[in-house]
C-alpha cells in the first residue's frame, strides 16, 4: 500500500503505539530537543525539570491505579517514602548508625520499586474489599502509619530532624551526581541527573503505555467502569486490583528512590498527606487515564512555583519585600487550589484533553469538523 501511509493492512500496525510516520518523527524531534536542551539550560532549571521527570514517573503510577483501574489512593506518599528509603538502604552508604548496601543504581533503583511494589501488593487484598470513600480513608491511614514508621525506624531513615542521604547515583564506578568528563567534554552533575531521570522516565512511560494498551490495561478499565460486568466476563477483580496497586506502588517506589537524589537529602517528614494530594492534583490536572497527561500534569505543577515566582516581579499586587497584598507562596497555594477546582469542573480530561482537542483542530484545519 505504498503512498497511503494512513491505510493499515495489518492489525499490528493498526494497534501500534505510534501508528503513523508523522507521529514517530514528531516524537523523535521532541526527544532530541528535550535531550539537547540540557546543553544550554542553567543548572537550577535542569534540577527543576529533572524533578518534574521524577514526579512524572510517580504520577504515571498513581494514574495506573486511580485513573485506569479506578481505585482512589491517597497513599501514594507512603509508597514514595518506601521507595526513597529502600533506595537509600540498598544504594546508600552505610554509617555506624545507618544501614546502606552501596549497590549500583542499576540494582538499587529496581529494588526500590520492587520493595514498594510488594508492599503495595501485600496491602491491596485489604483495600480490594473497599471502594470509594472507604478506600480513600484506608489509603490515607497508610500515610499516617508511614510517617510514624519513618520517624521511628532510625537505622534506615536517620530519624526526624536528622534524615539521611538517598541512594547514590553510581554505575560501575561512574558518578552521575558529580561533575565529570565524558570523552573530553565536561558534564555537570545537573546535566547528568537530568539525562538519567529522563531515561528512566522514558522507559517507565513506554512500559506504562504498553500495559494500558494490552489486556491488563483493558481489564483495569473494565474493573473501573463496571465491576460486576467485568467479573461476569471472567475478570478476577481481586487479582487485577492487587496488580494495579502493585504496579502503581512500583512506579512510586522508583520515583521515590530518585526524588531525593536531586537534593541529596531525605527528610522523614517529606512523605505526608500534602505530597499525596499533590500527586492526585497532578493526575487531575494532567488528565486521568492518560500517560501523556501524567507527564504534562507533573511538569505543570512542578514548574508552577517557578512560574509564579517569575510573576512576582511583574504583577503589581504581589509582595516585593513585604509590601504587597499576597506573598508568592500564598498565591501559589491559591492557584494550586483554583487549578484543581477549575480542571475538575471545566476540563475533566485535564491538560491531555486540551491537547487532544488542539491536535484534532489542527488536523482538521481549516475545517471545523
Amino acid at each position: 500500500m505504498r503512498g497511503r501511509p494512513a491505510l493499515f493492512t495489518r492489525y499490528e500496525a493498526d494497534s501500534a503505539m505510534l501508528p503513523t510516520i508523522t507521529q514517530r518523527v514528531w516524537l523523535a524531534i521532541g526527544l532530541v530537543a528535550v535531550i539537547g536542551a540540557a546543553v544550554w539550560l542553567p543548572r537550577d532549571w535542569l534540577i527543576l525539570i529533572a524533578t518534574a521527570f521524577i514526579a512524572a514517573i510517580g504520577v504515571i503510577g498513581l494514574n495506573l491505579v486511580t485513573g485506569y483501574a479506578g481505585q482512589v489512593s491517597l497513599g501514594h506518599a507512603f509508597f514514595l517514602g518506601v521507595g526513597a528509603y529502600a533506595g537509600a538502604a540498598f544504594g546508600g552508604e552505610a554509617t555506624e548508625k545507618l544501614v546502606g548496601m552501596g549497590l549500583d543504581v542499576i540494582f538499587w533503583l529496581p529494588l526500590a520499586g520492587l520493595t514498594a511494589g510488594f508492599i503495595g501488593a501485600a496491602i491491596a487484598p485489604i483495600a480490594v474489599r473497599l471502594r470509594g470513600l472507604y478506600l480513600a480513608f484506608l489509603t490515607l491511614g497508610l500515610v499516617f502509619l508511614g510517617e510514624h514508621i519513618f520517624r521511628e525506624w532510625e537505622s534506615v531513615t536517620g530519624g526526624p530532624g536528622i534524615g539521611r542521604k538517598p541512594g547514590v547515583l553510581r554505575l560501575a564506578g561512574w558518578r552521575f551526581d558529580l561533575d565529570g568528563q565524558i570523552a573530553g567534554y565536561s558534564v555537570t552533575r545537573e546535566q547528568q541527573i537530568y539525562w538519567l531521570t529522563l531515561l528512566v522516565l522514558i522507559i517507565m512511560a513506554f512500559a506504562a503505555k504498553n500495559i494500558v494498551r494490552s489486556r491488563i490495561g483493558r481489564a483495569f478499565a473494565a474493573v473501573r467502569d463496571r465491576d460486576i460486568a467485568a467479573e461476569v466476563m471472567g475478570i478476577d477483580l481481586t487479582r487485577y486490583k492487587v496488580l494495579a496497586f502493585g504496579v502503581s506502588s512500583f512506579y512510586a517506589g522508583v520515583a521515590g528512590g530518585l526524588l531525593f537524589t536531586v537534593t541529596g537529602f531525605v527528610n522523614t517528614n517529606s512523605f505526608n498527606l500534602l505530597l499525596s494530594f499533590t500527586y492526585i492534583a497532578m493526575v487531575v490536572i494532567g488528565g486521568a487515564a492518560s500517560i501523556t497527561g501524567s507527564i504534562m500534569g507533573a511538569a505543570f505543577l512542578t514548574l508552577l512555583p517557578r512560574i509564579i515566582d517569575g510573576a512576582g516581579g511583574v504583577l503589581p499586587f504581589l509582595e516585593v519585600g513585604s509590601t504587597g497584598l499576597l506573598s508568592t507562596s500564598q498565591l501559589e497555594r491559591i492557584v494550586f487550589g483554583a487549578l484543581i477546582i477549575g480542571f475538575l469542573i471545566f476540563e475533566p480530561l485535564g491538560l491531555n484533553g486540551i491537547w487532544m482537542r488542539l491536535r484534532n483542530y489542527w488536523k482538521a484545519w481549516p475545517f471545523s469538523y
Binding site: 492489525y11 500495559i211 489486556r215 478499565a221 466476563m233
Partner: protein
Amino acid sequence: MSERLLVFDEVRLSFAGVVAVDGVSFDVNAGELFAIIGPNGAGKTSIFNCLNGVYLPQEGRINLDGTDLLGLRPDKIAELGVARMFQNIELFSNLTTLDNILLGRNLHMKSGILSSALYFGKAKREETAHRRRAEEIIDFLEIAQYRKSLVGMLPYGVQKRVELGRALAMDPRILLLDEPVAGMNLEETEDMARFILDIQEELQVTMILVEHDMGLVMDIADRIMVIDFGRKIAEGTPDQIQKNPDVIRAYLGEEFETEGLDDEAPASEGSRL
C-alpha cells in the same frame, strides 16, 4: 443434540422476605435455544444472576456439563463457558467497540504484566491473534463502522449488538440473553433475531433467552419455560405454551380465564404480553 448441558435443580433464592426464585428446575440441552418468559418481577433476571454466580441461592443445585456452579465466583463461572448479555446495557462505556469485544477475549489471554509492559514477542502475537477473532465477531454483527468509536456514544441498538459481541467473544458454551430486543424498533428486532439464529446454527452456542417480545420468543425458541412470582408454571414447545391455560391465566389474570382457554386467543405474533 439432546445431551443435557445445564441442569438447574430446585433453586431457591430469597432476599430478606422476597422470594425471587422459588424452587425452579429446568434443563437445557446442548445446542438448544431455551426461553424463559414471565411477567415483570417474575424472577427471570434473578435466575441469570444465580447462573452467573452474582447471587448465591440458598438452596438447589446448578450444574454445567458435570461441574457444579453453585458457590463459584462469577469469573470462574465465566471461565467454564457461561457468557451473558445484560438487561440494562453494561458495556464499558469509556472504551471503544473493539476494546469491549477484546475484553470478551480476556479470559483466553495469558500475557502477564511483564510481557505486557514490554509488548514484545508473545504478548504482541497474542494481542494480534485475539484481535483477529474480535474482528470476525465485529464482521459477523455488522458493526465494523463503529470499531473505534467509544461505545457510550453509540445508538442504543448498536450498543446492544456490541454487548452481544462481547459475550460471543468469550467463545461461550452457553449464552444468557436478558431481553436482547427490549426497547428496539421492528427492524432492529429482526436484525437481533437473525443474529441469535445465526449464533445457534453457525456457532452452535446453546442459549437461554429471556424476552418479553412474545412474537420473537414463539418464533425462535426451541422450548419455553414460564415463571410467575418466582415459580415455574409451565414448560414446553412454543405451541404447547400458547395453549397452556396456566400461562394464559398468569399473563392475563383470572378474569380472562375462560376467554384464554379458547384456542384462538393466546399470544398472536408480534404482540407484547
